[in-house]
Amino acid sequence: MFSKKMVLIVGGVVLITVNVILLSVTSKSQSTSGFGRVGLSFVAPFQELVTRSVRFAREIWEHYFFLVSVYQENEELKKSLNDAIEKNNQWNELKLANDRLRNLLSFQKSLTNRVVAAEVIGKDPSVWFKTVIIDKGKADGLQKGLPVVLPQGIAGQAIEASDRYSKVMLIIDRNSAVDALVQRSRARGIIKGASADQCRFEFVLRKNDVQIGDTVVTSGFDGVYPKGLRIGHVSDLSERSSDIFYEITVTPFVDFEKLEEVLVILRPETEASASEP
C-alpha cells in the first residue's frame, strides 16, 4: 500500500519529532536520569585518571624540569647576593679602618712629638713571649727604644729595628717594665708584663692611696714613654701583712688581641735624622 520510500520519509519525520519533543522535555528538567549517572560513573574514573596524569606531568614539568631555569636564576641571584655581601664587608672594613685611622690621627695631634703610623704584620712565634712585628723601620725614623702607643694607651716599645721592619715588645711581655703612676694619687711603681692580658704594678708602697678602678699612667721617668700616657686600670689589689708593697694587677686599656695599627713616637733627634736624605 505504501511505498518503501514513503515509509522511510514518515519514519524520519516521526524520529525527528520525537527527538525534538524529548529535547524540549529534558531541557526543562535539571534532574539526571539513571543513564546519565551510569555514564558518569563509568567515564569519570578515566577522566580523573587522565586529568590527574596530565596534571602530574605538568607539575613535574613545572616543579622540576622547568626549575632548571629557576635554578640558574637562583644561582645568579646567590652570586649577586654574595658579591653584595662581600662589597658590604669590604665597605665595613674600610669604615672601621677609617674610624681607627681617624682616631689615631686625632690622637697624633695631641702628641707633641712626631709620630709614625705602622701596621702590625706578625706576632711572636711563641705563646710565651709577647712581641709583634710592624711594617716601619729605620728608613722611617724608627730605632730601638721608641715608645709604641695607641689612643687607648701605650702598647710597648721597639726593641729591634731593621730598615723596613721593627720588633715591638708589648707591655704584657714578661720582660717589659714601665715606670708608672696612679693618676689620682700619684703613687709610683713599675708596670710589668704578667700574662696574656694583664700586668703587675709592682713596688707601690702601701702608704699610698690606691683603689680598684684607678687609672695608671706613664710617669715619664723611664726615659722611654712620655709622661701621662694611659696604661690601664687597677683591676685587683691586695695587701700582704709582711710586705711593704701592694700586690696590684692592672688591666691594660689596649686590647692586644686586636692590635692592628699603632703609632710610634719619634724622638726629636730621630725625627731630625729621619728627615735627612
Binding site: K123, D124, P125, W128, F129, E160, K167
Partner: protein, 172 residues
C-alpha cells in the same frame, strides 16, 4: 729541588705560625710547628747539610721572637744532636717513635722556656698560665704532630729523600 722544598716548607711554617695561627683564638696556644720540621731534617739530611740549615732556622726564629736571643737556636741545635744520637739506636721510620718524639720535643722546649723564665727572667717565677698553655701545646702536638711529621716523611719519600741522611730506607 729538595732544598727548595726545605726552604719553602720552613718559610711557610714560620709565616703560618706568626700570622695565621697567632690570630686564631680558636686554636689557642699552638706548639712550635718547626719542631716536627727540625726532627724531619735531622732524620733526613746528612749532618753537614742539616746543621747549618737548623742553625739558620734557629737564628731566624730568635730574630722574630721576643725570647732571649739564642733560645731557639739552642733548642733546635740540641734537638738535632739528640735526634742524630737516637736514630743510631731506634728506627727512624717507626711510627710510634715519630708520634712520641714530637710530644717529647714540645715538652722539652717548654721546659727550656720555663727554665729561662725561672732563672733568667726579670720576675723569676713561672707564668700563671704555664700549665694550661703546656697542656694545650702537648694536646695539639699529640693530635697533629705525628701526622705532620709523617706527611713530611711521605713527601720526602716521594722525592726519594732517604732517612738517616746516610741512605737508609724508611722502615715504617
Amino acid at each position: 729541588m729538595r732544598y727548595c722544598f726545605y726552604i719553602g716548607t720552613c718559610l711557610l711554617l714560620i709565616i703560618v705560625q706568626t700570622t695565621v695561627l697567632s690570630y686564631s683564638n680558636a686554636i689557642g696556644g699552638i706548639y712550635d710547628l718547626l719542631i716536627p720540621f727540625v726532627i724531619f731534617l735531622s732524620i733526613c739530611l746528612p749532618v753537614r747539610e742539616c746543621l747549618p740549615f737548623i742553625l739558620v732556622l734557629g737564628f731566624i726564629v730568635d730574630n722574630l721572637s721576643g725570647s732571649p736571643f739564642g733560645l731557639y737556636l739552642t733548642f733546635y741545635f740540641w734537638l738535632f744532636v739528640s735526634m742524630r744520637w737516637i736514630i743510631k739506636y731506634l728506627r727512624a721510620g717507626n711510627k710510634l717513635f715519630l708520634s712520641l718524639i714530637v710530644v717529647v720535643a714540645v715538652l722539652i722546649e717548654n721546659i727550656l722556656v720555663m727554665g729561662t723564665f725561672a732563672f733568667f727572667g726579670p720576675i723569676g717565677e713561672l707564668p700563671a698560665e704555664a700549665v694550661e698553655n703546656i697542656a694545650l701545646q702537648i694536646f695539639w702536638a699529640l693530635v697533629t704532630g705525628p701526622l705532620f711529621l709523617l706527611s713530611l716523611l711521605a713527601i720526602a719519600k716521594r722525592f726519594n729523600i732517604q732517612l738517616n741522611g746516610a741512605g737508609a730506607a724508611p722502615k715504617t
